[in-house]
Subunit: 307 residues, 2 copies
């Protein structure tokens, strides 16, 4: 891996691709989200506010990168790209609620419950989650084959429920104020973050014809590993950001009580863990001839570059 980064031209080619994927999924989402002029207007406006605001569209990028890696037409994975982004968007709306993380701002804008109200934010999250499943069942960009649609729905459900994202958020909340082991921290990350990132890769792979079981397994493991590394990297960037702002090294007792890899193991160990997982992800791809692929580039982007 790392090829995209060593070479500035390759990096800017990736930027252009990321932009194209971002525009693509935003256009699709805009098409499928009900208009804010239709009843119930306020709820539809809250859905659109939460989904179509600024976002990196990391999960759709993984869907599209998997499709490119497997030489699949992007049309065939549009429903999957929209579905993972809708689940991500709903989870942010609910995580920001006063009873959860109680955040007033998200990417510089008022959170959904601040811009609208708490009841509307709860319902917006609820109905965005439904829309993800609706798109997989009914979007013309989902695979024509119903058995494949069912598999996508099954995969997304596993990644979103108590065995995935919602379960991870529950463990994260339970962890508040407790000192966790690294194993516990990685379990939270595996559910809260990696499950949906893994699903993004797995769902795109499920849209391909004739993939061997070993290839599917490698892609699933790649998604898992990248998802875990992404969360650790994100927590590292948070700490570095705090250090830059606070002008002091992080590693205080308060930080240690947080369920993050750098807080529990320290910044250097966290950086090593990301490098290790990044290398593992690279080996999984290389073993199947995908060492120089869109998926490898996206992993580099997520795990090495600053964003």
């Amino acid at each position: 891996m790392n090829t995209a980064l060593a070479n500035p031209r390759a990096a800017s080619a990736l930027d252009a691709r990321l932009d194209a994927w971002r525009r693509r999924v935003e256009r699709e989402l805009d098409l499928w989200l009900p208009p804010a002029t239709s009843i119930p207007e306020r709820l539809h406006a809250a859905q659109r506010y939460s989904v179509l605001g600024p976002g990196k569209r990391i999960r759709p990028a993984l869907v599209y990168a998997t499709a490119e890696t497997l030489a699949l037409p992007l049309e065939r994975v549009d429903a999957a790209a929209c579905a993972v982004e809708l689940i991500h968007a709903y989870s942010l709306v609910h995580d920001d609620l006063p009873a959860m993380d109680d955040d007033d701002l998200r990417r510089g804008r008022p959170t959904c419950h601040r811009a609208f109200d708490e009841a509307t934010a709860i319902l917006a999250g609820d109905s965005l989650q439904v829309l993800a499943f609706k798109l997989l069942a009914g979007h013309p960009g989902a695979p024509a084959d119903a058995a494949r649609r069912v598999r996508l729905i099954d995969t997304l459900a596993d990644a979103s429920g108590t065995s995935g994202m919602a379960g991870g958020q529950a463990l994260d909340l339970d962890a508040e104020g407790r000192t966790l082991s690294l194993v516990e921290v990685e379990r939270i990350h595996a559910l809260k973050t990696a499950a949906l990132i893994r699903a993004s890769v797995v769902m795109a792979a499920a849209c391909a014809e004739g993939l061997e079981a070993a290839q599917s397994d490698a892609l699933a493991e790649f998604g898992q590993v990248v998802g875990l590394a992404f969360q650790v990297q994100d927590d590292i960037l948070d700490v570095e950001g705090d250090e830059a702002i606070l002008g002091k090294p992080v590693g205080s007792d308060e930080a240690r009580a947080m369920p993050t890899y750098p807080a529990v193991a320290g910044l250097e160990a966290a950086r090593n863990r990301v490098r290790e997982l990044h290398a593992q992800a690279g080996r999984l791809l290389s073993a199947h001839g995908w060492g120089h692929s869109a998926l490898a580039d996206v992993a580099d982007w997520l795990l090495v570059r600053r964003h």
Copy 2:
């Protein structure tokens, strides 16, 4: 219709059937809800608390009654019966939240956010909704045919999202303190209550082989009409309960501001509306030879008997 009620033996036969359906869906739900001993334990416990507590299981009864009416084996609609109950259970958990109806008790027990905490209640609702879709995708009791599963998922999504239950709840919240017209009240009922009741009938019908379009349409309309009448009847029983408790006739200005049929049109008009819808439901069934069916009995139970 009304045959089950005119005849006490028929009524007690229906009671036995309702009990059997209730036990059946509760056994299935118990099987499919993750055990409270598995991680995340607290979230799984909250799911079980919210689903397996006392409940009339009206929506599963409609699923099973439709199956009996169409001579379908009940096994084939178990997934649909669980799915509609899971959606109903999640909606109660979220509707009870402080930001919504702010209820401390539900059927004599503390509401989920009181028995656990608000964050857990939000996540329990979120993950119960996912489980409904998961069961339709993966339950062995769903139709073997994937195209049919996709249709069930599509129907349930439409009934749950902004075009259904969540949309109705949003309109209901918006209506607070405003005086509504009867058309507006019925629109709220159609989305908030009738959509999921209609879906219960439609999903069961979608599990049958060789149903004609006219039959499917009649069943869908039956579900819609019964759903609407059920909500009006429920609001009538509320008013009568209040009158019994308060010892004064209801019809005050406060009541008029509520988005219910009796509050807007008065108790007598509401009773007439239920009778009218009940008769319409009966005609829809009779036209297809289902005048004396499990579905007719359940409609009688919902719209005439006190519960």
